[in-house]
């Protein structure tokens, strides 16, 4: 059984003029110690997907359907009290902006001890020892000193290390990291990603990494989901998708990267931009931007088809696979 299994998750936002569907039929699973990447552009719903796992979506958002099974128990149906035992304890989160997550008026030590005492019945002294141990694990120079410092005394990279240390405090099963390095410089980003990856491997923690950076996904994760307009359009092993993307959107996303283009030549570009939730196109939401779109694409959302180990929601890919099958049959 998978550690976390999300089945047919629907998330909506109740706003004036009716509900907006932010997530539609999201299904995926995460095994123990596995690293999963969630990729997409702004507005694709990747952060909503991450937040809804711990039911952290604020009003007017709500989970409209589906299940989030963590060790067999449905988080979507849990009471707030039960959920609090899981949040930060079994499933930890790392957010994009470390300055927003750390309380500016409390020392690092106070914040860390507070988090431990919320879940464990131990003395403050023991809690402080755990905090110190985690700060050492994230390789912060002079960790004893840091415990008594305030967040503003640390640099951006250092703060994100503290956040990772806090996420590790209670030996979680899963860490959900929402764009953890987007606010940082490239060299610092590389160090933080390296650290996160090593820690997840050492402690056998599953990682759900939300990012828009395909390079990072390729370096860190084993499997990936590509999201577009609230749906998963492609999912499978990271290497397979990066090397041979099936969905036209994923292909476009990869080919649009400057590192894929000939230096000085025009870049591949996907026309248009991601639709807003207020007017999601009918059928496959990508069809207005897709070069392969047919009448069929405008009618209904395509089902997932398998291509190797990758699941893709695209009629064009389905047709290609169908053709290949027929050709093979004809040959034999």
């Amino acid at each position: 059984m998978a550690l976390l299994e999300v089945k047919n998750l629907d998330v909506r936002f109740a706003v004036r003029g009716g509900d907006l569907t932010a997530l539609r039929g999201i299904s995926f699973s995460l095994d123990k110690g596995e690293r999963l990447g969630l990729v997409g552009e702004s507005g694709a719903g990747k952060s909503v997907a991450a937040f809804s796992i711990l039911n952290l979506i604020a009003q007017p958002g709500y989970i409209a359907g589906g299940q989030i099974l963590f060790e067999g128990k449905d988080l979507a149906a849990m009471s707030e009290r039960e959920l609090r035992k899981i949040r930060g304890n079994r499933i930890a989160m790392i957010f994009q902006d470390p300055m927003m997550t750390l309380n500016p008026v409390l020392t690092i030590g106070t914040q860390m001890v507070e988090a431990i005492l919320a879940h464990r019945n131990i003395s403050k002294k023991e809690a402080r020892a755990i905090a110190l141990d985690r700060l050492q694990k994230v390789q912060i120079p002079s960790p004893e000193k840091r415990l008594d410092q305030y967040p503003h005394e640390l640099s951006g990279g250092m703060r994100q290390r503290v956040i990772i240390a806090i996420a590790l405090l209670l030996d979680p099963e899963i860490i959900i990291a929402d764009e953890p390095t987007t606010a940082l410089d490239v060299t610092i980003q590389a160090e933080i990603m390296d650290l996160l990856l090593n820690l997840c491997e050492q402690e056998n923690v599953a990682l759900m990494l939300i990012t828009h950076d395909l390079g990072v996904v390729s370096q860190v994760t084993q499997r990936m989901l590509v999201m577009y307009s609230g749906r998963i359009i492609e999912q499978g092993p990271t290497r397979e998708i990066i090397n041979d993307a099936q969905h036209p959107y994923t292909q476009g996303l990869i080919n649009a990267l400057p590192q894929m283009g000939e230096p000085g030549a025009r870049l591949f570009q996907i026309p248009g931009s991601m639709p807003s939730l207020k007017n999601v196109p009918s059928g496959c939401p990508f069809h207005p931007r897709c070069n392969f779109a047919t009448e069929q694409c405008k009618q209904a959302m395509p089902e997932y088809v398998r291509s190797g180990n990758v699941a893709v929601a695209c009629y064009e890919v389905a047709n290609l696979i169908e053709q290949e099958k027929r050709m093979q049959e004809a040959e034999s």
Binding site: E41, S42, P141, S155, G157, M158, D185, V186, T187, I188, Q189, A190, E191, M193, D194, L197, H212, D213, L214, G215, V216, S218, Q219, V220, R239, I242, G252, L253, I254, A256, L257, P258, Q259, M260, G261, P263, G264, R266, L267, F268, Q269, I270, P271, S273, M274
Partner: protein, 336 residues
């Protein structure tokens, strides 16, 4: 070689942190003392931008790359050094005399959500610079020009009566580009023009900038932290660290054979699609604050090759065999 379009000479820029005279005075050990502090944003930068090229300036936050852009544009005045445009010194010109250069030099900013006036329609936004620089143009001429630039950036000219908030980020950046192109500039300073945009939109805007360069013969000073973009877009690259240029090279050379240890680390830190694991050169520590600059080479605290000379003496840019200019003692001494 022909004379450069823009040349930046021994540029320095400090931002005073200490406030007024009264705020500077502190009482220490029974005596009054005057304490002055400044952020040393740029510490002696020499750059030349040749006509028709795209010179990229890269570096991490706080390295002074945006300050260079703003100083060149005259949005900030240099603490020392000179800016020349087409052979004429422009950093000391007053309003009237500077006007001509303001038309020839235009700027594109990072955040298209902040750089468009929310209370102006697109028509008004584009009209303003044209009317300002060409007061003698007839309304028809102005309208034709607006149509032309809107068309060239891929924004439907019929949308002129809309406001900035009605557009997406990518479209806004197109409008900001149209505004820069409206007065037929020769030289465009683009400060992180695609950093706030999504990947698929980045490609669109980058293509647009390259098309404009080709069709209008533009020269760019392109500021960015994204090295992958530089490899694609730049003719030459200047890598900055703590207010100094540490390497200046043709794009191809820089990516094929980076010489400066900082450039090497920076290049290795780009997450590449073919990587299965992060494999970057690990640097010690973090970027020091530009308030108290390190002595000698500004990079010595993090450099694996630093020796006593690096701690004492500031390295100057030297030309290497490949034509790359590097400011590094280790490269000069052939230790690297």
């Amino acid at each position: 070689m022909t004379s450069p379009l823009v040349s930046i000479r021994a540029l320095e820029k400090r931002f005073d942190l200490s406030g007024s005279l009264l705020e500077q005075i502190t009482f220490e050990g029974g005596r009054f003392r005057r304490k002055q502090e400044a952020v040393h944003a740029i510490n002696g930068v020499d750059l030349e931008v040749q006509k028709g090229e795209a010179l990229c300036v890269v570096g991490e936050s706080g390295c002074g790359k945006s300050t260079v852009a703003r100083t060149v544009m005259g949005l900030l005045s240099p603490s020392a050094g000179e800016i020349h445009y087409g052979g004429q010194r422009i950093d000391n010109l007053d309003g009237k005399a500077a006007l001509l250069y303001r038309r020839k030099m235009q700027m594109i900013f990072q955040n298209p959500y902040a750089s468009l006036n929310p209370r102006m329609t697109i028509q008004q936004t584009l009209e303003e610079p044209i009317r300002f620089h060409h007061p003698d143009w007839s309304p028809t001429q102005v309208r034709d020009k607006i149509h032309e630039v809107m068309h060239s950036v891929g924004i439907d000219p019929d949308w002129g009566s809309r406001f900035g908030h009605e557009f997406s980020g990518g479209q806004r950046q197109r409008i900001a580009i149209a505004r820069a192109l409206a007065v037929d500039p020769e030289f465009i300073v683009a400060d992180e023009p695609i950093s706030a945009l999504d990947v698929s939109i980045q490609a669109q805007v980058l293509n647009l900038l390259m098309d404009a360069q080709e069709s209008r013969g533009l020269t760019y000073l392109f500021i960015t932290h994204d090295l992958a973009v530089v490899e694609h877009f730049g003719t030459r690259v200047a890598v900055m660290y703590l207010g100094r240029v540490c390497e200046l090279a043709d794009t191809k050379n820089l990516f094929a054979t980076p010489r400066h240890p900082y450039t090497q680390a920076l290049l290795s830190a780009i997450p590449k699609l073919e990587d299965d694991r992060p494999n970057h050169i690990r640097l010690k520590g973090e970027v020091p604050t530009p308030v108290n600059l390190p002595s000698g080479c500004v990079f010595h605290g993090r450099c694996p090759y630093a020796n006593e000379r690096c701690r004492q003496e500031v390295p100057q840019l030297i030309v290497t065999d490949g034509g790359t200019q590097v400011a590094c003692h280790a490269v000069e001494e052939r230790r690297l």
